[in-house]
Amino acid sequence: MDAIILADMGLLDYAANKYPETPRHLSVQGSATSHEALSFYKDNFDIRRAVLPRVLSIDQVRSVAKQSPVELEVLAFGSLCIMAEGRCYLSSYLTDESPNTRGACSPAKAVRWQETPQGLESRQRSPAYIADVARTWRQALDRLDATPGMFSVESQWNNTLAGLSEGGLTTIGAYHRKWK
């Protein structure tokens, strides 16, 4: 095991004390949106890396990164949520199960499923989906490494990823803040 991703302060404390050699990464559910918050987790639980919540724009990410005491990870592909992660109770308000209490958001038991000609949209992702996404991103990152400063996105990458997105729609969400 390379690292363990955790959000809860009690669990982070337990992991830091019981298994200090296992690197700890702060989950996106840890809601750390500033370098001060990242320092709290670093000082208290000696985290190595943190996943930033998706509410930050790219400029805000840049500003946090400048003063961050730990490595940073950002979410680059997948379904988007517009709420700040880790402190959202919409799911438990409607169903009694939430990410914090049960690790579930809008649990399947509470969804009214409809069979459509296209079949059912699966909440879990298949190995094939993960393979396609990882392969495409690997190609893009390798290209960035090989030709820094001359990077451009190939239409074939966009086509592959668009084909994996619900309704073929993609957005860069809060990273791009023209709505600001």
């Binding site: 302060m9 840890g30 987790y41 109770y89 709505w179």
Partner: protein, 244 residues
Amino acid sequence: MARDLKACGKNVVLSTLTLIESEADLRRLRRFCEQDEFLVEANDQSALQVAIRNKIPFVTGPSMNIYNTATLKILTRQGLQGWNLPVELGKETLEQLINELKAEGLDLPAEVFSWGFLPLAWSSRCFTARHYNLPKDNCEFRCLEHPDGMELRSRESQELFRLNGISTLSGSRCDLMRELPDMERMGVSTLRLSPEHQGMDEVVKRFDQVRRGEVPATDPLQLVEAPPCNGYWYSRPGMDLVAS
């Protein structure tokens, strides 16, 4: 305003932002934590960090993720004076946490959100500005026209949520007046009554009467407009109303 209230004998607590997004937000936060006139309520880990660094006492608000005694112990060692139960937790968890704290010899005042629209989620987007098709940073403060938020109904016309700026509140109004005897028995020290545009004096008065035993907790306040809910207290969906 805080000083005026303090002069009237009120215990004032300064509450920090839930979603810290910029250096400007951090500057405001540091100002809060560079005074010792008022207690500070930390609502995210940035606030914890600054309060701890400045060695000032603090309490935590309802959006701070506290789901176990281990978390409370970590914070108590560093200046925590009291805490709020996260809104999505209820009687069973609170009782367990209070008992575990007692077993460890810790007496930490607990506060419970007992009246008002529950704060459920925060976004970096401002829904009010979006509704008026205005940019967030030039919003003309249109939210002033909606002091209790904008109602959001489902396709089945159920009042699901209230949108207020960047926060999403419950569509039903949390009312734990009948649960007050429960809370007194468990040793809850403070009730949080979230202010509303109108009728708030009546709400405070009624909670006070119930607290003093002047009226039974089963004699509810007849404020209308939003359906009541207490589901979280009974480990049910938050929007449910459990008859007691």
